[in-house]
């Protein structure tokens, strides 16, 4: 047990470092679950509506791919279908990043060396991190169960659904414990674990698409690929549809196996070393790298490529789903109304496409925030200091980053519109026409993204220490206003806070120039304020 000496102490350190993150996680997941359950209950209030929803969900391949296999017509089953994948993905990524942060990242920054020299056992850091993160998952699941019961769902199903989501967190905690041993860098460890999340999603989607619809048409029996996906296990628990409790043993088994493997790997390697050797690169800089713009492209291109693949797959699927959407509208007027509230306008199909483009614009907002916050990351790492000590002005440096993020947003928006148009055009025999039209419609969302860029830049220039937290908070507020604003019937003044509110939802309504011009002007003002603030302040600060 010498190898575990100091575990309790380190666990307290993890708790102390992450007390705010953990609190947001443990309280935020149940709150989100509660809010989503409430809004779903409002959209599908009666048995007839839910019957329609379940039948459509079970027959639509796209719904199966993105929402998982529906487990009947209970309100709880509809809630699970609508929320499970989102919550499970959030929990999976939170667990992954938390494990890496407290294991590999400590080694990378040398903190572990400091600790290793004190009285701390070899397995203690990993064990401490896993204890805290598994406990957070269990606690969050417990509170989520209570929240679902509070939202009016039956206790057994609520517990099963919450445990299913907690199980996903536990499973990816185990996977991240292993990837943290493999890669030398925390980025690499996170990338490996995130790839595992992606693969799980794809396997689950494939298994659910290949599954069989039940005789009454309201259930789906998943095929085998779902069973080898930790994300799929949660669906196989079948909360609210005849719970299969034993499936919950799968994530626990994976946790035990993962921990054993991680210990074995940790035993075989040196502190700071990994099992995947880092690749070599060019001995000198190519001319196109050697400028702020070249550097920005180099730093962004990997992320951008990942986003492009995701956006294209999602866009294409959403486009194809447009056809199935027609069938769904016929069966569920309430859902149609909800889509209509999001997209606006008279033609429901256009409203659907507009709503999808709106969703893309929100999601791509996350790309913009992430891309721009790299400057802040560079500042805290000390890289920015080295760069600004060269003959590059602060304005040029920050301006280049903003431009790079904006160009990335343009590319992703265009891709989202074009792929959605291609998908929709394929089922309606007009791929090219739709691609052009929806590509253009998507680009009209750019001014909202420029405002997002402006907000991040202003925060970076004027409140650097708070810029990371506040930037993501701002985007989250925009997201909640956009997604729940209409459902929760918030006042217009509140909705107006989000730049996305002001973008005409083409193709559901006609484009209008004025709001776009105003948004662009607001963005320009925010950018100018941010750059001016950056020029005046201390670096690093």
């Amino acid at each position: 047990m010498r190898a575990l000496t100091g575990t309790a102490l380190l666990a307290r350190l993890v708790l102390r470092r992450d007390r705010i993150r953990l609190a947001i996680w443990v309280l935020g997941t149940p709150l989100l679950g509660y809010a989503l359950a409430g809004s779903v209950a409002g959209i599908y209030p009666d048995q007839a509506a839910r019957q329609g929803y379940a039948t459509t969900s079970a027959s639509s391949l796209v719904a199966r791919a993105f929402n998982g296999p529906i487990a009947g017509t209970d309100l709880g089953a509809v809630v699970v279908a609508e929320t499970y994948v989102t919550l499970a993905l959030i929990v999976a990524l939170l667990s992954t990043f938390a494990v890496t942060r407290h294991t590999r990242q400590n080694e990378e920054t040398g903190r572990a060396e400091l600790l290793g020299a004190s009285v701390v056992g070899r397995y203690a850091p990993l064990t401490a991190a896993l204890l805290v993160i598994v406990a957070a998952n269990v606690l969050a699941a417990g509170l989520l169960a209570l929240a679902l019961v509070g939202a009016g769902l039956p206790p057994a199903g609520s517990l099963a659904a919450a445990a299913a989501i907690g199980g996903v967190g536990v499973a990816f905690t185990a996977i991240a414990a292993v990837t943290a041993q493999l890669s030398v860098t925390s980025r690499g460890a996170n990338a490996l674990a995130a790839a595992a999340v992606g693969l799980s999603f794809v396997l689950r989607a494939a298994g659910d698409v290949l599954g069989e619809q039940s005789a009454d048409g309201t259930r789906v029996q998943s095929a085998w690929p779902s069973w080898i996906s930790p994300l799929g296990w949660g669906n196989q628990v079948r909360a609210f549809g005849g719970e299969r409790w034993w499936v919950l043993a799968l994530p626990v088994a994976l946790l035990l196996a993962g921990v054993a493997l991680a210990y074995a790997l940790a035993e075989r390697r040196d502190l700071g070393a990994g099992l995947i050797a880092p690749r070599r690169g060019p001995a000198s800089g190519a001319p196109q790298l050697l400028s702020p713009a070249g550097l920005a492209w180099r730093m962004q291109r990997g992320t951008l490529l990942g986003w492009a693949v995701g956006v294209a797959v999602l866009g294409f699927s959403m486009g194809i789903a447009g056809d199935e959407f027609n069938a769904m509208i016929d069966q569920n007027p309430a859902a149609a109304e909800a889509i209509n509230a999001m997209g606006g306008g008279a033609n429901l199909l256009d409203a659907y496409l507009a709503a999808m483009l709106g969703l893309f614009a929100l999601t791509i907002g996350a790309y913009v925030v992430q891309a721009l916050l790299r400057v802040r990351g560079d500042e805290t790492d000390g890289v920015l200091e080295a760069a600004l000590a060269t003959a590059v002005s602060r304005t040029r440096w920050l301006g280049t980053q903003v431009l790079a993020a904006a160009l990335g947003a343009v590319a992703l928006l265009l891709l989202a519109g074009v792929t959605t148009g291609l998908g929709y055009g394929l089922v309606t025999d007009d791929p090219l026409g739709q691609a052009v039209e929806l590509g253009g419609a998507a680009l009209l969302r750019l001014p909202a993204l420029l405002v997002v860029a402006g907000v991040v830049t202003t925060l970076f220039g004027l409140l650097p220490r708070w810029s990371v937290v506040l930037s993501w908070t701002a985007l989250l507020v925009f997201l909640l206003l956009g997604q729940l604003g209409a459902v929760l019937k918030l006042p217009q003044a509140a909705l107006n806070v989000s730049p996305y509110t002001h973008v005409p939802s083409v193709p559901a309504v006609d484009p209008a120039a004025l709001p776009l011009v105003v948004l662009t002007a607001v963005a320009a003002a925010l950018l100018a304020a941010g750059v001016a603030g950056f020029r005046r302040r201390d670096v690093p600060s």
Binding site: T185, R187, G285, A386, L388
Partner: protein, 314 residues
């Protein structure tokens, strides 16, 4: 015209007064040692000289320009090695060197390749896989491969091993020969002694000493041990003599260099049999200013600890 002149510089971070009326003057063509305990304000001073930090009050001129307003123009004429070198993790060392050089206005390719060899640095490895010492080498190579008028080096060798330290010293001598000015913040005393024409010692944001090493030595007491035929008397009344005590018939004392002559005149009257006089070591000089206790320099173990060159892990 001094290359760097700082007068009464003040910089606060909230409640912390990092610089509290600092003065510094670095003349054209000299290698100037910039010394002080951790947290005394060396890096803060250097960041102000680079226009990264805004000063609260006081004057700062670099190459006859304002470091904040003329930052970009100035940066073409100087090269900087940060105290805590961090680089773009996914660039290779070679790419980082070329990028920094290009952003500064170009570097000498021949010198770059030669420096890579001399510092034994593999330019194909990603920066995220470099140790602290290797990251420092990247910044050092990037700086010395640029031909500039001023090199600002913030504890550049704290992660280097003794072999690399020697290479580093050669490079400093080379740029000095070429007429450049160097501001070298350092903890490695041997390095300061070997390289610096003049040094400034700061403490808690103020300059406490400045001058050539010889001048600074002059400010510190010489330790004298003497064995005489008859017991020595009258030392207490001599000016500049301190800490007199007798052990085994030998007299130990310390004397200010200015009063050495008078002391010898007195000692000679008691029949000197043996005499050793130890000039202050650089360590003692520093400890006098670094430690809380001004006489701490007399404690030998502490002195030899601080004097050991810091050989970093490879």
């Amino acid at each position: 015209m001094p290359v760097i002149s700082i007068g009464n510089l003040v910089k606060t971070f909230g409640a912390i007064r990092a610089l509290d009326g600092l003065d510094l003057r670095v003349e054209q063509g000299e290698v100037h040692g910039f010394l002080g305990p951790n947290g005394s304000g060396k890096s803060t001073t250097i960041r102000i000289l680079l226009g990264l930090l805004h000063r609260d009050s006081g004057d700062a001129r670099v190459l006859d320009a304002d470091p904040w307003r003329d930052a970009v123009r100035l940066h073409r004429r100087l090269a900087y090695v940060p105290g805590d070198v961090n680089l773009w993790p996914n660039l290779t060392g070679g790419e980082a060197i070329d990028l920094l050089g290009k952003l500064r206005g170009g570097l000498d390719r021949r010198r770059r390749d030669e420096l890579l060899q001399r510092f034994d640095l593999d330019p194909t490895r990603r920066c995220r896989t470099y140790s602290k010492g290797n990251r420092q080498k990247v910044a050092i190579v990037a700086a010395f491969a640029s031909t500039v008028e001023l090199y600002v080096l913030d504890e550049p060798t704290s992660g280097l091993d003794p072999l690399m330290e020697a290479v580093f010293q050669d490079e400093v001598r080379r740029v000095k020969q070429a007429g450049a000015t160097v501001l070298l913040s350092s903890h490695v005393l041997a390095e300061v002694e070997a390289l610096c024409d003049r040094v400034s010692i700061i403490r808690e944001g103020r300059t406490v000493e400045s001058g050539t090493l010889a001048e600074l030595r002059h400010l510190t007491r010489t330790a004298v041990t003497v064995e005489t035929a008859r017991p020595v008397t009258g030392l207490d009344t001599l000016p500049g003599v301190h800490d007199v005590h007798e052990v085994d018939g030998r007299t130990h004392l310390e004397v200010d260099p200015a009063h050495l002559d008078a002391l010898l005149g007195q000692l000679i009257r008691f029949g000197v049999r043996a005499l050793t006089s130890t000039p202050p070591t650089l360590e003692q000089l520093f400890l006098r200013h670094y430690g809380d206790d001004p006489t701490a320099g007399a404690s030998a173990p502490a002195a030899s600890d601080a004097g050991a060159p810091q050989a970093g892990a490879r």
